[in-house]
């Protein structure tokens, strides 16, 4: 066989099967035990899967829908599709049936590989609206014994067909793999669509391999690394880390047993490379804080004392900076022994060399916390359209409020209106069947318009302010960046989500979602009974608690001349959590501002007209797609606001 360039994912897979065939490639925890597949075993499975698909009539250029939690076979299905010159299209597994209809139709899906009965049921539900869907192949047979529909088949069966096909035509698959070109589309990822319909982003092998290569070289990732694959496969971040980088560098991906067991599985695997959206880090921090309140007095004292030490010098020590005093270093090493080490262990992060977060702007305080206890958490910035890798923070140059300099090979420019423009190998080829959107996003010079507003700081690090569309101006002309305020609020463990309003208004007001775990815990300690989320959210005591958080946030905002205008003057606590199922958040949990403003207009009006309470009734969607109504009388409170730059309490 002629030596071919390692420029497509199938060829990379075959390379690893040859060069490190016995090393673990994929693991999955099943029935309580970690099952391992080596690179050569994975290559065999992918072959069977690919030939099986070919046997069923999957052709070059076809799109393959992939829906489910992170399962080895679903990852292998991506490679199998690519072997045949097809394009895998992963969907969000928690999308309801109707949401999937758009993508299935838009991508003209004929073949779908799904995890289990839940996904099969959803597809069957919408099958009439997607008549071209002919093959629904499932991995987990549980509950599917009595399904008689002809479209449904088990992957076991398909792979058996594939093995026979491969035996009869041994050169077929190799021939197909050889036909693959790096400029072929490798994957199609639909953007979450905070506004309008989702768009299918087509990324080529070349783009993702470039992104993978850049990241791996940047952080020196190699075949010995381990990563936990638990984020939605439809998210560009997971595709970069668990698929592109894994196949490029040859490291091992580990699939947890179920969504509920991720934390335990994280501890068992002890990954060396970790990626999580800011929300996960927020949750982990919240959990830690809650558990600390349960601890005995000595432990609590130790925790607070050493966390203070860490706050003073931890991040600097991690960065290798020399301004740390000897005393502080000594204290930090004690802290490491007694607090930070055990804490990292409990979080499952003992072996982490590099941890990244991305996806939404992260609060600087949260970021600093993790670095200060010795976890090399860094930010990266990117978009689905850029294979997620526009800016990467180099070790030793971590700043808390920037996303770092542009990654090697990527050019970043700021447009006159403040929008971040990107150019490089990692850019999308096009939006699927949307030449209009493609033309709109990529300008004449080849720069992609990210839709984010930002600027470069004096060190050449990019600072992202907000989505360009969301950055507004208050009535007095001062800049209003809702995301920044919301992140500050969300750092408090009691606040799970916040939505700030103020564009064109004379003051900023906010909706708050409390975190049921943290606030529930707090309430129980004070013997405050409550009958559920809505009840707890309306308690006077909880309003005072949240009011204190808002006040602290305001105090910090008051220190900056521009931001001080954005202090939150009034707020209310929503009676229900904002939810992607209700279209209030995207599947990656970004707030859909326009939609939320529409839906809760009566509350916004109440906030700005000085009312102290407002009745609201909203529709909610249950997880199975049915709808219901939920209502409450929401209390509206004023928050303490501070004098601009003086830091003194306003009258």
């Amino acid at each position: 066989m002629a030596e071919s360039a390692l420029d497509t994912f199938p060829r990379l897979l075959l390379h690893h099967a040859k060069v490190r065939g016995d090393r673990p490639a994929t693991r999955e925890k099943d029935l309580g035990i970690w099952q391992t597949w080596t690179w050569s075993e994975v290559a065999v499975e992918v072959r069977s899967l690919a030939c099986g698909l070919a046997e069923l009539g999957f052709k070059r250029g076809d799109n393959l829908a992939i829906i489910g939690d992170n399962r080895p076979r679903l990852y292998w299905a991506m490679t199998a599709a690519q072997c045949l010159g097809g394009v895998p299209v992963p969907l969000y597994q928690d999308a309801v049936a109707q949401e999937m209809t758009f993508v299935l139709e838009n991508a003209e899906i004929r073949f779908a590989i799904v995890e289990d009965q839940e996904q099969v049921d959803k597809l069957l539900e919408i099958k009439s609206q997607c008549p071209q869907l002919q093959h629904i192949l499932y991995d987990d047979p549980r509950g599917l014994r009595h399904y008689t529909q002809t479209e449904i088949q088990s992957l076991d069966e398909v792979m058996e067909m594939g093995r026979i096909h491969d035996r009869n035509q041994p050169d077929f698959l190799d021939g197909e793999i050889a036909k693959g070109r790096p400029e072929d589309v490798a994957v199609m990822l639909y953007t979450s669509g905070t506004t309008g319909q989702p768009k299918g982003v087509c990324q080529t092998h070349a783009a993702f391999i470039t992104a993978a290569k850049t990241g791996c070289e940047f952080d020196k990732l190699g075949p010995d690394d381990e990563i936990l694959s638990y984020l939605p496969m439809a998210w560009v971040g997971d595709h970069l880390f668990s698929y592109a980088q894994a196949i490029y560098a040859g490291f091992t991906i580990n699939c947890p047993e179920s969504g509920d067991t991720v934390i335990t599985d994280l501890r068992e695997i002890g990954p060396t490379y970790y990626f999580a959206p800011p929300r996960v880090f927020e949750n982990l921090l919240t959990q830690v804080m809650i558990r600390m309140e349960d601890a005995g007095a000595i432990k609590r004292w130790m925790f607070h004392y050493f966390m203070e030490v860490a706050r003073r010098c931890g991040a600097e020590i991690l960065d290798g900076k020399s301004e740390v005093t000897a005393t502080d270093r000594l204290l930090y090493s004690f802290g490491n022994l007694f607090v930070y080490g055990p804490l990292r262990n409990v979080l499952g992060m003992s072996r982490i060399r590099v941890a990244y977060t991305a996806g939404a702007a992260i609060g600087p305080d949260l970021f600093r916390f993790y670095r200060s206890i010795g976890i090399n958490l860094k930010q990266l910035y990117g978009a689905t359209e850029t294979c997620a890798a526009v800016c990467l923070q180099p070790d030793g140059q971590i700043k808390f409020d920037t996303v770092g300099p542009p990654a090697p090979g990527v050019e970043v420019r700021i447009a006159d209106n403040g929008e971040v423009l990107v150019r490089g190998q990692v850019m999308l080829k096009e939006y699927y069947k949307r030449p209009d959107a493609t033309a709109e996003s990529i300008d004449a010079e080849g720069y992609f318009h990210t839709g984010d507003a930002g600027f470069f700081d004096p060190d050449g690090h990019l600072k992202i302010i907000d989505r360009a569309k969301d950055v507004g101006k208050l009535a007095n002309g001062a800049m209003f960046a809702p995301n920044y305020i919301e992140n500050k609020l969300k750092f408090f463990s009691y606040i799970k989500e916040a939505v700030a309003f103020g564009h064109g208004r004379d003051m900023v007001c906010a909706f708050i979602n409390i975190d049921l775990g943290a606030v529930g815990n707090w309430a129980e300690r004070r013997n405050i009974g409550y009958s559920g989320y809505t009840d707890l959210a309306q308690r006077q005591e909880v309003y005072s608690l949240i009011g204190e958080c808002v006040e602290k946030c305001n105090a910090e905002l008051a220190l900056d001349a521009v931001l001080s205008n954005s202090q939150v003057h009034r707020f209310l606590i929503l009676h229900k959590e904002l939810d992607p199922d209700d279209d209030e958040l995207t599947r990656t949990r970004k707030v859909r501002r326009g939609f939320v403003a529409e839906k809760y207009k009566v509350l916004i009006d109440a906030l700005y007209s000085g009312k102290h309470s407002q009745f609201i009734e909203t529709q909610v969607k249950f997880e199975d797609g049915r709808s219901g109504m939920i209502n409450a009388d929401l209390r509206i409170t004023d928050a303490k606001v501070f004098d601009i730059a003086a830091g003194k309490k306003a009258a």
Binding site: L31, G32, R142, G143, R145, H146, E257, S258, D260, T261, T264
Partner: protein
Amino acid sequence: MSSSRKIGEPILVVDDISLSFGGVRALQNVSFDVCEHEIRAIIGPNGAGKSSMLNVINGVYHPQIGTVTFKGETRHHVDPHHAASQGIARTFQNIALFRGMTVLDNIMTGRNLKMRTNFLQQALWVGPARREEMEHRLKVEEVIDFLEIQHIRKTPVGRLPYGLQKRVELGRALAAEPELFLLDEPMAGMNTEEKQDMCRFILDVNDQFGTTIVLIEHDMGVVMDLSDRVVVLDYGRKIADGKPDEVRGDQAVIDAYLGVAH
């Protein structure tokens, strides 16, 4: 609800059972049968004798009069140990799990009767004991997977919320691979979502493993949806027996629930 199971011949026949505790007549001349692979509900107002009936089938109570025939073997008095080894498993209304043990260990105890190695072999952890432990662990993991309780595998049962404890108890009974399942108010104290989950598991057990199920339940919706046939008890007597729709319209049943002077 998919129902392609074949309901077979009676696997359990309860004949003319009368049970008294001193002067209190818990059951009077109750007779009914349960066919293989079916889901049979026993319903009735509180104090009707439903739990007592299960206890008689199980061998916990011994009736003064009457016999219980299971899989062709008729006995006047059944020993609980014997009933269990014959393939009858049960859950309890108020949960009888070992609160200090983990979920995994609790479900392993359900395999107790299937363990063949003796005390010495297990204490010394020799070959046969090790192999057996692995076999049983595999079965238990399958049960855990079936009931979706992987995330609480190592949690002590006492710390779990009520709904999950009930699921663990179901798991323990399942681990014994029974042919007849006696469920005593499996939905007690649950909200709608939890009831739906429990119903699904019960249906799955019946569908996937073909287990015959006798179920005591108060929630009429559940009874009507799940069961193939229903027995109604009131004051220790059987007042109706038949398909859910027939029983629902029966005047005696309506009287019993609404309360008519006796």
